[in-house]
Symmetry: D2
Subunit: 276 residues, 4 copies
């Protein structure tokens, strides 16, 4: 059986030694091991992939015993994660994920697609995935979210991907799914926060457009950034052309970030990500 | 003799025909020709490189006669442009320009380097270029700028390059050198306007840092953007590492933008650049 | 009605004037116009987008009359082009094109998918596109190609996209579809010609992998290059990881090249492309 | 005192534990630690930065005792390395290194510049660095190399940078400086091996040009690759334009590779590099 061990703790002399000693004494086979110490905060981060037979809680307890008091430890097995996608009208990111899913490139179970529109229903169902249309009409934001939440919770997903979901989320909703909400924003944040980044980019006359995949927090477009990239444009691009040019970046940046989450490679600290 | 003709006008049917007719009747040899019509504003932009013998003003008058009333026309010969560099303490952009100058790669005459510090004096003078140290101590912003202006004006430069000049300029100074001030900002604008972009980038936890070369206008870091690029970073970069990583981008983005200006390829319109 | 005019000719003084004069006299509205002169060969290339009412052959004849004897002229209307896709086992490029087709991003009619395998049949038919399985078993290369040709010809396509079609084509086949065969090769050509570029890339220890979209000619992987791009990799990538990393580049490079063909922006000359 | 420990060995269970145990028992402070296991060859690679007081040979012996028999171990202190630059006519890479040296960005001592031409003498000496002109005229390759070797050896350099040195080296010369010769080749190897890559790139009509920094081995342009990058070009670039466009990439790729060597981050294995 394969496992991934994630640790965050205040740095101390001998942490690598003490942790690797335990893993060695369990007879485990380390396949990948990465450490990082943030010099600023004196925080130690570690990710280890190993294979072997263990009693999960016992291993965790043994490692906890040698860690400084304030720490985070997490031990994940290699089961495929369940994900739920939230989308609005645009289909390019959804379509890209579906194709990666179909070909086996996306190592996850897409359990459901939820949308406030119904135009992507046909596309989703082509791939045998349940589609839930939850229109917003005449509902308050809270009422609508309650319905979305209910549908999400039926599938108990490990990750909820906002694949161009154009609704602002309430703090309550965000809190409810902490460290589970992955969003793709269509600009190189922190530039062009909010709606219509391509219109703003056109207005400002930038020579690059981009995309940012990030965890969602209470503050709009302010969560920990996981992946970013840009593409070059020029004066011949109007707002629509920028939008088209940005689609490829949006797809790839989100897909890369999602893969990092699926492989349990992302730790967060101080509204930033540490990717091991 | 080689010339570069730049035209901006409201778009009309037949502009290309009418302009190329005049050039043809003068017996000129067109070597490069680019047009662009901004569909939004219905503006026509054109840049033509040609060779031949002309009386400049006569050709301009002939073309003006067939252009719509509100237009810009500019006819440049192929003489090397004169430039003056303004710098502060950091030397990497200055050094890069000096090396490109020395090797003949930078097709311009660097007439002078002006700085509010004196640490780059030795470096500058190695290359036989006059260095002017104008310290700011006990001078008001206006007094200091008056001295800088006086020194600049001795060389009547076509372009003034702010090669990491860390002083905020007064509207008066900017107005005085309109369309002549080229600045390099060490972020992918509009992200991280103002001082210390790398500190802000570190704080925000971005996965890219970049640089922006732009014309200077009254509004800080708000002028028309000419070139931008970014470089990927990760969680192991602190603010200093980002600064180091950004240096290569700063150098190249500024050098690319400067070359575009030297080749008369940059038109501006609505706080944007059209690069032909 | 919209048209795209493509011209290639030996360069002469006054070509732009003479051509734009004819377009002006026809009362046509030029929306985009690009020229390029290859100084080496003294060849003139031009692409003009215009709208208006014309008798196609008459306009062509009028322009031919003022062009030097050896020229190429082509006038395309704005109809959606028909394309046929040839694929083998890998589905990522096919899937990407299908999704772009479904969303309307790909401005073409996918008339058919032909494969020497049948694993992508289900995927293709989800999108309502006819799938033709033409297995190679016990057929000679010529016999197999004859069947493929017959199927292709039923749809009279403007472009045949080799979307990871892993069969080597005979000179006869290539000749039959000159300037119509677009291939994606999974390396930054001319590096790693032939089969298994990722294995070769792994063996060589390169730090980038890439993809090349090109027209197909008789010589394997030697046709005119349209688009290329690369992605950075490191020592942790084995051949399979490189393959995964390359998939995004393959998809985007092919899609970009296909769009250029669909917009009639690609001219060829001396085994190179001129993209206007 | 700061140290960098580099280890390569056949992988065994417990290596990380056993090595970190020794470092812990010495009371050393690990500041960075990276491991990599090449699954294909079952090779273990490790790089550790630590600070503390040690007797070098004793620590090495203790670690050797727990490593499998066939291993490489190397313990470097933090002293600035000495480098010697070999150049021919082109000055852009040399100039770039000199500027980085002058500003303190290049953490090394440039002890000498050796050239078969004398055109960069003035530039080199501006920076107070000894310049040795060793012309090739009427000398055999071996005679010329003997003189170059003699001059190099006066400075006992850790790294010899071929900063656009356009002479082919004899196997003897290469052998003499194994793992010390860093070359910059002006193409994305393995494309365009040998002289005049930009001419070959023009001929082939590629849409990218690039540069490769690599260790030098007997086979021309076949040594382990350390860094590579490319820049996009189009049909308007002739061979000279490609050369200009490539200069920035050459400078940065070489500078990046040199920094990796200076920080002892490069291990080699099977004609490939592992960069930790």
């Amino acid at each position: 059986m394969k496992y991934k061990l994630l640790i965050e703790a205040n740095d101390r002399k001998g942490l690598v030694y003490k942790i690797s000693k335990i893993l060695y004494e369990y007879g485990l086979n380390i396949e990948q091991n990465t450490e990082f110490v943030d010099a600023c905060s004196n925080k130690f981060f570690m990710r280890t992939e190993f294979s072997g037979d263990i009693i999960k809680q016992k291993l965790i307890d043994d490692i906890k015993a040698i860690l400084p008091t304030n720490h985070m430890i997490s031990l994940k097995n290699d089961d495929k994660k369940n994900i739920v996608l939230l989308v609005s009208k645009e289909s390019h990111v959804l379509g890209d994920l579906l194709i990666r899913y179909e070909s086996g490139e996306l190592q996850a179970n897409i359990k459901a697609v939820i949308s406030n529109h119904d135009n992507t229903k046909k596309l989703t169902e082509k791939f045998g995935i349940p589609f839930f249309h939850i229109p917003t009409n005449s509902l308050s934001r809270e009422q609508h979210e309650a319905l979305v939440k209910k549908t999400i919770n039926r599938f108990d997903p490990n990750i909820i991907v906002l694949a161009k979901y154009m609704r602002i989320l309430t703090p309550d909703f965000v809190k409810n799914y902490q460290h589970k909400l992955l969003n793709i924003h269509h600009s190189f944040l922190p530039a062009f926060v909010g709606a219509n980044p391509y219109d703003m980019a056109y207005e400002r006359g930038v020579k690059i457009v981009g995309a940012t995949a990030h965890y969602v927090t209470d503050e709009l477009d302010e969560g920990p950034i996981i992946c970013q990239d840009v593409v070059h444009i020029d004066h011949t691009y109007n707002s629509d052309d920028m939008c088209k040019a940005g689609k490829n970046v949006e797809k790839i940046v989100l897909s890369d970030a999602l893969n990092l989450l699926l492989e349990d490679k992302v730790l967060t600290f101080n509204n930033k990500t540490v990717i091991l």
